[in-house]
Amino acid sequence: MSEAIEFLPPRPEVLSRRAAIVADLADLLPAECVIHEARELVPFETDAFISYRRLPLAVVLPKTTAQVAAVMKYCYRYGIPVVPRGAGTSLSGGAIPQEDAIVLGLSKMSRILEVDYANRTATVQAGVTNLSISEAVGVDGFFYAPDPSSQLACTIGGNIGMNSGGAHCLKYGVTTNNLLGVKMVLVDGTVVDLGGKHLDSAGYDLLGLVCGSEGQLGIVAEATVRLIAKPEGARPVLFGFETSEEAGACVTDIIGSGIIPVAIEFMDKPAIEICEAFAHAGYPLDVGALLIVEVEGSEAEMDATLAGIVEIARRHGVKTVRESQSATEAALIWKGRKSAFGATGRIADYICMDGTVPLGKLSYVLKKTSEITDSFGLRVANVFHAGDGNMHPLILFNANDPEDAARAEAAGNEILKLCVDAGGCLTGEHGVGIEKRDLMRHQYSDADLAQQMAVRSAFDEGWILNPSKVFPLDGRPAA
């Protein structure tokens, strides 16, 4: 297990009251909603950032907003840290607990409460999975746009915590652009409604503040999201290039020409091989880099957009252009892309980076990334949202070799610093979590961080909500 990133030391006054806390939680919630046996806590010790693990003190799985509020009121009263958890798919360790923390899991709160087509909204409990919203409204011609690759499993609550993105965010924006309201439980158990079914609210935009706050300002229990009418048609097209540099330059030119496709996804050769072996999507194996460009609209609209893109791709020496011929083929193309991270597990352990860079720097950063991993003696596979410059280098390593794991982590840090130095940022959609916490000073000045922490303190003075995350452990306000 990696040790480079520290967690806060557990609060002794909480650890010593463990038995009493478990008994009190059992009074607050039904029996099947409280987990405290040692064996049963182990599966909650980590999320998808699996190189770090900490056992929690207990896990609660409330079924209602009122139960969430009761748990928060109790934890606030006794200063017990709380780590919210959706489906535990975080790639930055956002849901990893700590020894003195209660994991507050929203997995039993998975109902869609209301669908309102007239206002184009869906109101859901926080534990609803991202994809199930689109599935519920799909028959009526609607969908929920942000589509993280983990959308099958990840929850809307987690998406709000991390302001998640996805392939189709190039056109439709990330979570914050598709979120209209939340019902949130504050640290002391008070329940507040922020936003609603309207596009703007009077007063401060607290909803904007909450989205991306990584569970540190409150627990989102319910959310109202924007629904979008499905386009008449959608067509993913594969563009194969000799080199990553050509593909990167092509992306820059497509966006620079004013064309905004729904998605431009990038895969380098290692990523193409991994994804093709899993999905059999027909990705070309004789190219050095692949772009999946999706266009949508009427047939004429798709043809026209595509013609413009093909012309630009030709200028960048595109080797192959292949349009999907059927819905099945289109689905396979996306299945391969969306399973890329997990499919990588077939060949090696990996950590997934999430830096975002200005589009003009894409080729430069790709080249530098290879240089960095080479210098550490590691392999890298790149598969990412090229259209908005959100890079996901997957650094391959052997988790059973501690030195290899340490090298992978060090290489990851160098890559993220590279993204910041190129004018980008540490995270495009996965959040800071613990993974990028200690790099926050590379991104922000002390004054910037102090402002963010002041906001956090305004919501949670005692810093009990997801306390080890986001902000470097030193330099925090005294509790």
Binding site: E37, P43, D47, L152, A153, F278, G345
Partner: protein
């Protein structure tokens, strides 16, 4: 993910295999979304990822199974939806098999649980005993509500509920050892007679024999075969399961040596998944490894085999069929299109129920051992099927047929019964009785 086993632990071939499986898992969590028990209970401990973690912790620490771990492993349906979903190729099936063996060896179950499992293992795999039990169950049915009031006796109540109200006469044609009328042969296959299916619904294999004979395939029902072993295998009873497997391997190898076989036809997809795994189950037995692999390679679901025969395309019948894909069919054997394509070619209109990847809750003896979760899954499955407004349900597994039939008035048939009817066989009784 990272594992920590000692070289001594890895000397055990079961542990070595599980370690390899665990190393594949990247803990991405995709599997949770399609797991019927996670979707129903909303607790990660009742999801594949949670179970994988529980198993990993138990095996790494060389610990005996305990109540907590057993509770969550027992709740697993072995539907293998997670295996279909997993992008990393985690072989959950063999991991949970190992966990069940480990539980059986190291954990002492409460008395009633033990007795019920012993009873199931002693009766279900044996057609004669099972037939008697079904007759007795009919007499015992009035006591079911009473039994269900006592927690430890709930499985007995569930068992009585599942017993058919009437019992069919054993089939003459599909009985092991009976010679089957020869047609001009375009292939020679053996058909698994099995254990529970011929008691509960002998019509399935009768329809299969008629259909195959009609298309010129010689079918043998070799004497001496029986239960595939899945029943006890899923209880973690390794040795009895392997004994069932060895017996069947012997029978089919004998048949291969005397006349050859193009395929071993299985009409219950649950059994098919297990027989296709014989090669793996017996890999450590030098006397059987090779023979078992040969048998597994010949095993075919009936719809897989029929797909190779190029059956003629028939005129539309105007009958809407909801196709329920058994978990052992779609996840265990990865057969998804063949049954539907056959039904369509035979003139049926095929409808796909929503949430088709979710288990109906039958899962071998699961509906007896875990009646509450099973009932919730059944209700969900029936809701989705009935929403298709189909005239009839088709599926490829006797377990699903028994389970779903207790929840809906829409008749449910084996796919092969509809195909036999379409290609000249008698109308299935369940349809003519409508």
């Amino acid at each position: 993910m990272q594992t920590s086993f000692t070289p001594e632990q890895l000397a055990d071939p079961h542990v070595a295999e599980s370690e390899k499986i665990l190393r594949r898992c990247v803990h991405c969590g995709f599997c949770t979304a399609t797991c019927p028990t996670y979707v129903t209970l909303g607790n990660e401990l009742d999801s594949p990822r949670g179970r994988i973690y529980l198993i990993k912790d138990m095996l790494e620490n060389g610990r005996a199974a305990d109540e907590e771990v057993v509770t969550h492993i027992d709740r697993c349906l072995s539907c293998l939806a997670c295996v279909t979903t997993c992008p990393s190729g985690v072989d959950y099936m063999h991991l949970v098999d190992h966990a069940r063996i480990h539980i059986e060896k190291t954990y002492r179950r409460p008395l009633m649980d033990r007795l019920i499992r012993d009873l199931l293992a002693a009766v279900l795999p044996y057609p004669a005993r099972f037939r008697t039990a079904v007759v007795l169950a009919k007499l015992g049915r009035p006591f079911a509500p009473l039994l269900k009031r006592v927690s430890a006796l709930k499985p007995l109540g569930a068992m009585l509920d599942l017993a058919p109200a009437s019992i069919a006469r054993p089939s003459d044609a599909a009985t092991p050892g009976r010679p089957v009328p020869q047609a001009e042969s375009r292939g020679r296959v053996a058909i698994l007679s099995g254990c529970a299916q011929p008691v509960l619904d002998p019509g399935i294999n009768e329809a299969t024999l008629r259909l195959l004979s009609r298309f010129g395939v010689e079918v043998v029902v070799p004497e001496g075969e029986g239960c595939c072993g899945a029943l006890v295998h899923h209880m973690g009873r390794e040795e009895p399961a392997l004994d069932f497997a060895r017996r069947n391997v012997d029978v089919w190898i004998r048949e291969i040596d005397n006349g050859g076989l193009d395929a071993i036809i299985v009409t219950a997809s649950g059994c098919g998944t297990t027989i296709k795994d014989y090669g793996h189950m017996l890999r450590l037995d030098p006397a059987y490894a090779e023979k078992a692999a040969k048998v597994s390679a010949l095993a075919r679901d009936i719809t897989e085999y029929l797909s190779t025969l190029d059956l003629p395309k028939l005129e539309p019948k105007g009958l809407n069929v909801a196709y329920h894909s058994a978990c052992s069919m779609q996840h265990g054997q990865k057969i998804t299109l063949a049954p539907k394509n056959l039904l369509k070619a035979a003139g049926f209109t095929v409808r796909d129920p929503a949430e088709g990847h979710l288990c109906c809750g039958s899962a071998g003896t699961y509906n007896i051992l875990q009646p509450e979760i099973s009932a919730q899954l059944k209700a969900r499955k029936v809701r989705n099927i009935e929403a298709t407004k189909a005239d009839v349900i088709a599926t490829g597994n006797i377990g699903c047929i028994t389970q779903i039939a207790t929840g809906t008035a829409i008749p449910i048939l084996h796919t092969v019964e509809l195909l036999d009817w379409a290609y000249g066989g008698p109308e299935p009784q369940k349809l003519s009785a409508r």
